[in-house]
Amino acid sequence: MKAPERYYDFQKDISGCGIFGVINRKRGLIPGDMPIQAMTCMHDRGNGLGGGFAAYGIYPEHAEKYCFHMMCDDDAAIKGSEEMIKKYFDLHFYEPIPTRRTLAIPTPPKFNRYFVTVPEKPENEFRELPEEDYVVAVVMKINTAVAGAFVVSSGKNMGAFKGVGFPEDIADFFRLEEYSAYIWTGHNRFPTNTPGWWGGAHPFTILNWSIVHNGEISSYGINRRYLCEHDYLCTMMTDTEVVAYELDMLIRKHGLSWEMAAKVFAPPFWDEIERMDAEDRELYTTLRATYGPAMLNGPFAILVADNNRLMGLNDRIKLRPLLVAEKDDMIFMSSEESAVRDVCPELDRVWMPKAGEPVIVDLED
């Protein structure tokens, strides 16, 4: 077959995903406009098939309750998920998540949020689980048992807002400029080999954990099977979901530090381990042997947050960009410097972290 005339002369969208995160170390509240503008600057890293944000500190009046952001395809899914929430939790307050009609988002699912606590003496099949495991179990149950209903986030004083569209459209839809948070992460999606659907947009969350990711987790299959053995069920049809559940398992359940969890995701090479002193050699050998199926293979730049921290991490050969910048109490992490400069032109320091070395920023209190 002959190539078409001027086959080389075409308009092509060249993209990757885009990520942005910001934390105010003193819990100063950052208006939504900042992450929205930063993501808008990186518009061309996505293709309109996914955008989303995670925000921490947005529900101070319900800070002690788990907030379930529910995404439902239809009224039956709302009814089914509400029944489930009422069955497993004490429900204190619920409301539709405020949205506005926008031209860019023609047929959105329905969004509600539920502020809940775990009953003192639950009478159901999860009654013997510790509180947070109980919440995780309910999330898994809703995601797998209620058709068309998905838990978008389930943490305290935080929430995820995501969907199909460019991030600025998703922000417009969810009226995110009305929120202020001390940690924000944002994502612009260019789906590579998984569908561009509402649940597949980033961030991925469980409890207080959230993650946004540029790249692809080629080890998704083995990670997913490994998580399945530990009662985490993947239902979002997108590779990055495994990272949220692995964080919960490694850090909350197994008690690993964030640094060690980062080393599970992006372990040192064997030749580096050989050059370490005896103690580190044993540690990293054990870590690789124990958590081989949790290692993330493939390119990634990820931003991970919970209520007290923001972490940036690259895969160990740095196949995706990640930049860190500081200005007074604020730390930015971004795919591109221009996105940071757009929202904060003067910066104290800008650098690109080493592959596989986490950059962890804590709140000061």
Partner: protein, 253 residues
């Protein structure tokens, strides 16, 4: 007789990169040769594929693939640059007064890229040379992993001096992996484990020093640095250990 110069100052702001590049192309058609770009904010592909004697003075942070495929322009960034600077460029010079990101000079086949600060990963990957077309990259700071990976020609000079990372080695791991042409010069020494498989760092000879001196003088002049201070240290060179390893793969010679 020198060609007539015509200058134009543009403010990029939040202008979409396609529109902005179209504006630049239209001005080039109108005979503008020297551009000053203010408030640059991530616009991609600036100066891409321009052929001829142009000047770009860029303030702010330009976007990906600055100067890709260009042949001739002189581009100066008065700040940091992002990824893919000088992607497959043919000729000209890009000077970056701050740091730069990953894959700088990817498959570059001519011209110069001078960076004052640190650079990211895979800088100079697939660089190549042919006859008088000898691409050159000088990095004033430190480099990430895979510097000069699959390098087939040209020169990379790594100084390690103007770095934000005092504790880091001068270059990351796998330096020169798969290299089969060209040369990487490093100021000071390179830890042996940073080198790619089969490679060794050897002292430079007087011919190398001449090349280094010439390059450092040009670099120091562009960035207003003291070339004597740069040249006050020893240099080592990394050369490929094989030449055209796949030369017989399809058509045996």
């Amino acid at each position: 007789m020198a060609a007539k110069r015509k200058q134009k100052t543009l403010t990029a702001g939040r202008t979409y990169y396609r529109q902005f590049n179209e504006e630049i192309r239209a001005l080039v058609e109108d005979g503008v040769t020297d551009f000053v770009i203010r408030e640059c904010n991530g616009q991609r592909y600036l100066a891409t594929a321009l052929d001829g004697d142009f000047n770009f003075d860029i303030y702010g942070v330009p976007g990906q693939d600055l100067g890709a495929f260009m042949r001739g322009p002189h581009v100066r960034v008065h700040n940091n640059a992002q990824d893919g600077v000088g992607n497959t460029m043919d000729a000209g010079r890009i000077v970056i007064e701050g740091l730069a990101g990953d894959v700088i000079g990817y498959a570059m086949r001519g011209g110069d890229i001078f960076i004052k600060g640190d650079v990211g990963y895979r800088v100079g990957i697939h660089m190549k040379a042919y006859l008088e077309h000898q691409p050159r990259i000088v990095v004033g700071g430190k480099a990430g992993d895979f510097l000069g990976e699959y390098m087939a020609g040209g020169i990379i000079l790594l100084l390690g001096m103007f770095s934000d990372k005092p504790d880091a080695p001068v270059a990351g791991r796998s330096l020169g992996t798969g290299m089969h042409g060209g040369v990487i010069y490093v100021r000071g020494a390179v830890p042996e484990d940073q080198l790619g498989p089969g490679l060794t760092a050897t002292p430079v000879d007087s011919d190398d020093l001449k090349v280094i001196e010439g390059l450092v003088n040009e670099y120091a002049k562009e960035l207003k640095l003291d070339s004597k201070a740069i040249l006050s240290e020893n240099f080592v060179k990394i050369r490929p250990f094989s030449h055209r390893p796949y030369g017989n793969l399809y058509v045996p010679c």
